[in-house]
Amino acid sequence: MTEPPGGSPGASGPGAVVVRLPGPLRDLVGGRRELSVSPAPATVDALLDTLSVEHPVLVRRIRDETGTVRQFVNIYVGDDDIRHGEGLATPLAPGTVVHFLPSVAGG
């Protein structure tokens, strides 16, 4: 389940993955800066699947209908860009912080 940090007891805390959102995506989750997902999903892909249950529009902003992360969206697990690692198969552990960030692009 997803909750704001400090929300329902047991939803956040050391067993959860924390997702940090950029400003343009916060309106999709009631203005929250972070979401906490507990228990921690095994991978980034599993994290997105879990989030899509409660926040389908948010997840459509991150990956397209083929499951591919959008070209100008970056996902960091801790300080590491998943594109330089195992991609959506990047493993998650309890306590991991995941960032969804717009890349340096635009016009």
């Binding site: 389908p56 083929t66 717009p102 635009g106």
Partner: protein, 359 residues
């Protein structure tokens, strides 16, 4: 009565209102910093529904709609247009949103990139891929133009189930039921960029519109060539004589007066600017046999263009003609293109405009 002009730009949606089509007030932007490649005003509904094809450059494309003239917007949770899993495709841009006839009040068509046609039966909330066109054996040979590979024109027949589409590149296709058996209708349209300049398909048709006389009479602005058809696209004939150039993007037709249509010729494929820097619309009153240059209210020293969907007409008795340019200027005419006023300046690049007369 109020005239509403919906202006989609590269960085948001603007709404202009006027009682006389001379003095305009502008509101917006909605969807700030997001591209609005397609707009529609569905006046079959009361209140009218605004539809927009939105493209967030980071977070992807979608369709949103508003039943309160932009005060609030709705986007279905799982996306209005999403490719089925087996296609292994992803929506890149919504190029066209086209409400069908009043007799099919909930049907809205969407033309999209990658090249695809979509049908909504719930007023544009959700769309279904038209498989017959997606699975067409010619698909592998349709190629992207510079702007991308898309269906950009959808012309449903007003009294039958036939639907005609145009795509760049690929050309014109028609289906008797809007679903299956899509056949090319490009005979007579040039494709000078192929060894065979008159292939069965592959043309880069920029826009097709239907004449007020009926759905069989069509005008096409091609990537080099302006054409007319009198048999719903089975055969096309050049009507470019009298124009300064046969290259351009837009084509418009009067909803009331047979034989009346407008195009905006550009210098050439390799010089996509108004000829001599003179921003002009050309009008025919006789189905393309002769053309009249309309210059009143339109500037000189202009080196920008109007893109294919950045032009429209309204349905008033004296047809309003509208277009916007890539330098963010929007023009309106209340007298069928005789004279123009400037609606807005210094907007982002104008990509799409649609006008409607609202109660």
């Amino acid at each position: 009565m109020t005239f509403l002009l919906s202006i989609g730009t590269r960085k948001g949606l603007f709404l202009a209102r006027s009682d006389d089509r001379v003095s305009w007030t502008i509101e917006g932007p909605h969807f700030l910093a997001q591209e609005i490649a397609s707009v529609a005003i569905d006046t079959r509904r009361s209140p009218a529904r605004l539809l927009v094809g939105v493209q967030n450059m980071h977070f992807g494309p979608t369709v949103a709609w508003s039943d309160d003239l932009g005060a609030t917007w709705t986007e279905p949770e799982h996306g209005a247009i999403t490719f089925p899993d087996d296609t292994e495709a992803a929506l890149a841009r919504v190029w066209q949103l086209h409400p069908d006839t009043p007799e099919r009040p909930d049907v809205v068509w969407a033309g999209c990139e990658p090249t695809s046609l979509w049908r909504s039966d719930d007023g544009g909330d959700t769309f279904e891929l038209v498989r017959g066109l997606w699975d067409h054996p010619h698909r592998k040979d349709w190629a992207p133009g510079f702007g991308g590979a898309a269906v950009h024109t959808v012309l449903p027949h007003p009294s039958t189930d036939e639907v005609l589409v145009a795509m760049s590149t690929g050309g014109v296709y028609s289906s008797p039921d809007g679903a299956t058996d899509w056949a090319p209708r490009n005979k007579g349209i040039s494709a000078y960029f192929f060894p065979d300049p008159y292939p069965e398909f592959g043309q880069c048709v920029h826009k097709v519109v239907a004449d007020a006389a009926g759905p069989d009479t069509l005008y096409a602005q091609n990537h080099g060539g302006v054409y007319r058809s009198d048999d719903r696209g089975l055969q096309w004939t050049s009507i470019a004589d009298g124009l300064p150039s046969d290259f351009g993007f837009i084509a418009l037709a009067s909803p009331h007066t047979p034989g009346t249509a407008w195009v905006m010729p550009l210098e050439a494929d390799a010089a996509r600017v108004p000829p001599g820097g003179h921003l002009r619309l050309y009008r025919t009153r006789d189905g393309g046999r002769t053309w009249q240059e309309n210059s009143s209210g339109l500037p000189d020293g202009v080196w920008t263009v109007a893109l294919r969907d950045a032009a429209c007409v309204d349905t008033a008795e004296s047809t309003g003609v509208y277009f916007g340019t890539r330098d963010g200027t929007v023009f309106a005419s209340a007298d069928e293109g005789e004279t123009f006023v400037t609606v807005a300046e210094h907007l982002p690049d104008v990509l799409s405009v649609r006008a409607a007369l609202l109660p």
